[in-house]
Symmetry: C2
Subunit: 196 residues, 2 copies
DNA sequence: ACTGTTTTTATGACTAGGTACTAATTATTA
DNA sequence: TAATAATTAGTACCTAGTCATAAAAACAGT
């Protein structure tokens, strides 16, 4: 038994995966030095783990994040719009990622759930531009990483430029959030006073 | 009699800049074809305009966005924490950027304001881990790109593991948002059986 | 038409960070 | 000890460039 400080292949590959998550922008040479093995070993490890080469990682991160930033904070709607009937109903799905949770507990931060709800509420009302006036919300139970959030929005009343929308979010049929929003539409030139 | 469709160098470079903004992930070969010139011409143009090579553009986008995502959605607190006295008061400042606003109107999307408020509310209570249970909020007036949001959070009551926190957000001393949060601390094991 | 200048294209040598493959060496295990 | 697994070495090739040099083409001015 060589009193070597070499670790097993399995352990090395596990650690490699961790390193890639922490800092995905290291080339094989640097990784080889980090682990005290040859470049070829790192390449073999990457292949076995299905980790692409540095440039592709850059490419993925660039394109992925390009979308991510837009879809996470800049998007018209937070989550994926599944179904929409203007003025009647809207459904969106949000699959939280690690960046949306508290590291300690893996519980999804409330404001992401709120964002899904609010943006869906905005989408479902039949107005060009709208702002949220009032929101009354309740988080019914914690949502964990891996849960799939299904939001359902339903406009319940329109009075002048005020739209009342209820949003329910569930995980596996179990409700985790409810919100009542009053949205104010800003399209003044559009005059649709109607039923209450 | 070259009825040539060639455009001037200047025009080409202007258009090149536009293309780079729209789709920064084209290589020189594709660009050359787009413009009907040789690869070398594109390279000269890039040099004169100071546009780096494709891989570096990937790199910049990847690293830039990496940070952005972390700081915009992954942060412990949305905005910059200015002052904090646990259990008494907290102040944070958020300067919205273009990605936080509606393109049409330059009005800040509600959920960013909510996020600032909620995360500050969480920070100000004296608990290890907390979740939002209920929020009652009102957007008093629209916030525009360029406005500086000053949020002030104040815990008003504690009952068991429930913390009541009021948050006010102002722009230039003028209130734009108010929210009442009931946060549930998890320091003791949380009983999430909540009757409706 | 003949220069002079700018613009464009071509060519060759070199680079990083790889892939894909073969072969050899070193460790571990039956 | 032989068989198997893990590691290292080495080669040819690839992409998407860089840098430098040179030649060709286009556009003026006179």
């Amino acid at each position: 038994m060589a009193g070597n400080n070499r670790i097993s292949k399995k352990d090395r590959q596990e650690k490699l995966k961790d390193v890639m998550k922490e800092d995905p922008f290291k080339n094989d040479e640097e990784l080889a030095k980090d682990f005290g093995v040859s470049i070829q070993t790192i390449r073999l490890d990457r292949m076995e783990l299905g980790i692409p080469e540095l440039r592709e990682r850059f490419r993925n991160a660039a394109e992925g994040n390009y979308d991510k930033v837009r879809s996470m904070v800049g998007a018209e709607i937070v989550g994926e719009l599944i179904d929409l009937t203007l003025g009647e109903q809207g459904i969106s799905i949000l699959e939280p990622n690690e960046e949306m949770v508290f590291k300690k507990t893996n519980i999804v931060r409330g404001h992401h759930i709120f964002s899904q709800a609010e943006s869906l509420a905005m989408a479902v009302i039949d107005a060009d531009v709208a702002l949220t006036g009032v929101a009354n919300i309740k988080y019914l139970r914690p949502v964990y990483l891996g849960d799939k959030l299904v939001a359902k929005a339903e406009p319940v009343r329109v009075r002048g430029n005020k739209h009342f929308v209820h949003v329910k979010i569930s995980v596996k049929q179990r409700q985790v959030f409810r919100g009542k929003f009053i949205l104010v539409s800003l399209s003044m030139d559009m005059d649709d006073e109607d039923s209450e």
